[in-house]
Symmetry: C2
Subunit: 193 residues, 2 copies
DNA sequence: ATTATTTTGGAACAATCATTCCAAATAGCG
DNA sequence: CGCTATTTGGAATGATTGTTCCAAAATAAT
């Protein structure tokens, strides 16, 4: 019986995600969001509850639709060690397109809100763990096939790789020079040898 | 002939720095700032010009009065390699006091503002370079006295260490578990061997 | 003590904040 | 077509934003 929504809920969420990604949470006003999403106040509050709830949804949407596919694409068909290297090299490739320079929404949000926002902190921890596990699995496989050094336990090395990635994403958003970025990214091999 | 200021300009700046450190830039309102600094509007705008200018001053004040002394204290009297390790272990020690959990003001600010704030980006780049140079110098010395592996050029390894530090400071502010933090920090040795 | 100069406290400002609310418009069902 | 449930657009809300402004207070020099 009811009227149907005049906009695509997921599309609008995706636009919101992009805006948060570029500008952060506090710097983004409701007016900015509504304009970016192409909807208006009534529809917004009816659909997404409020700004903070939208952020949490945007974070999940980001992991599912940006991070996960990006990781899958970068690593598909590659041997474990090459997969790890590819994850980092990919950041280098993307450093010159607009989106790539905004770093990672998860990390940006973690730094802006985690200390005073329990809900955000929880999401961040879960996603860090997932990323760490992914690295750990790749390390195990790489150590098994002999391409990654065994002088460090998989768990430790996996976490070290996650930490390395966090650093790279900080450098990206900090807009450091390409030289600096290349220099750091190319050191992944040092961690694996 | 004039009246003298009723407050200590540097003390108030220090309080502002602490508030920015804990809460970030956008989340901090002028009311918050004035309360934290213990002064009022007239005095503020007369002395510090405006909120954005204050942030830049706070950043410099932070590097000079928090980072520099902290690094000096952590490394004094230590051999190069031990100095590097000490810089990281220090983060672990501090992880349970309130201030330590807020990460690093420079990095927090970089992630929040660098993409859209030229002045902040400039400061960030200069300070990153200083930190990198410091690491590079220590690496050179460590390689000279044989305590640090020579399989990597000082410049490269120095930057890698800076990147490692950025990651650790992200993890700190993200409030990850002590286990996770220890695990990552203890891997510094892997980078130096 | 008087004068000159600066700071101080806070009222006032226009702009913007996130959110609420509701009449008008709309679309599916009978 | 008419009924009804839902969405839509936007006016309105009260709170808060960063900044300006100025009279009153205070101090150092004359």
């Amino acid at each position: 019986m009811p009227r149907t929504k005049a906009f695509d809920v997921t599309d609008a969420l995706d636009k919101a995600k992009d805006y948060f990604w570029a500008h952060g949470y506090e710097s983004t006003s409701m007016d900015d969001l509504l304009k970016a999403m192409g909807i208006n106040r009534g529809s917004f509050y009816d659909t997404y509850e409020n700004k903070h709830k939208l952020l949490l949804d945007a974070l999940d949407h980001y992991i599912e639709n940006d991070i996960a596919p990006s990781l899958a694409k970068a690593t598909e068909g590659l041997e474990p060690r090459e997969a790890i290297v590819a994850i980092f090299k990919r950041k280098l490739k993307r450093m010159n397109d607009p989106q790539g320079r905004f770093g990672c929404l998860l990390i940006n949000t973690a730094l802006e809100l985690a200390p005073h926002d329990e809900a955000v902190a929880k999401v961040v921890h879960r996603r860090y763990d997932e990323l760490a596990k992914r690295f750990i699995r790749l390390v195990k496989q790489g150590q098994a096939d002999g391409t990654i050094s065994k002088r460090c336990k998989p768990t430790q090395l996996g976490r070290l790789l996650l930490n390395h990635l966090l650093g790279v994403l900080v450098l990206l958003r900090s807009r450091v020079s390409e030289t600096m970025l290349k220099s750091v990214i190319n050191q992944v091999d040092l961690l694996l040898d």
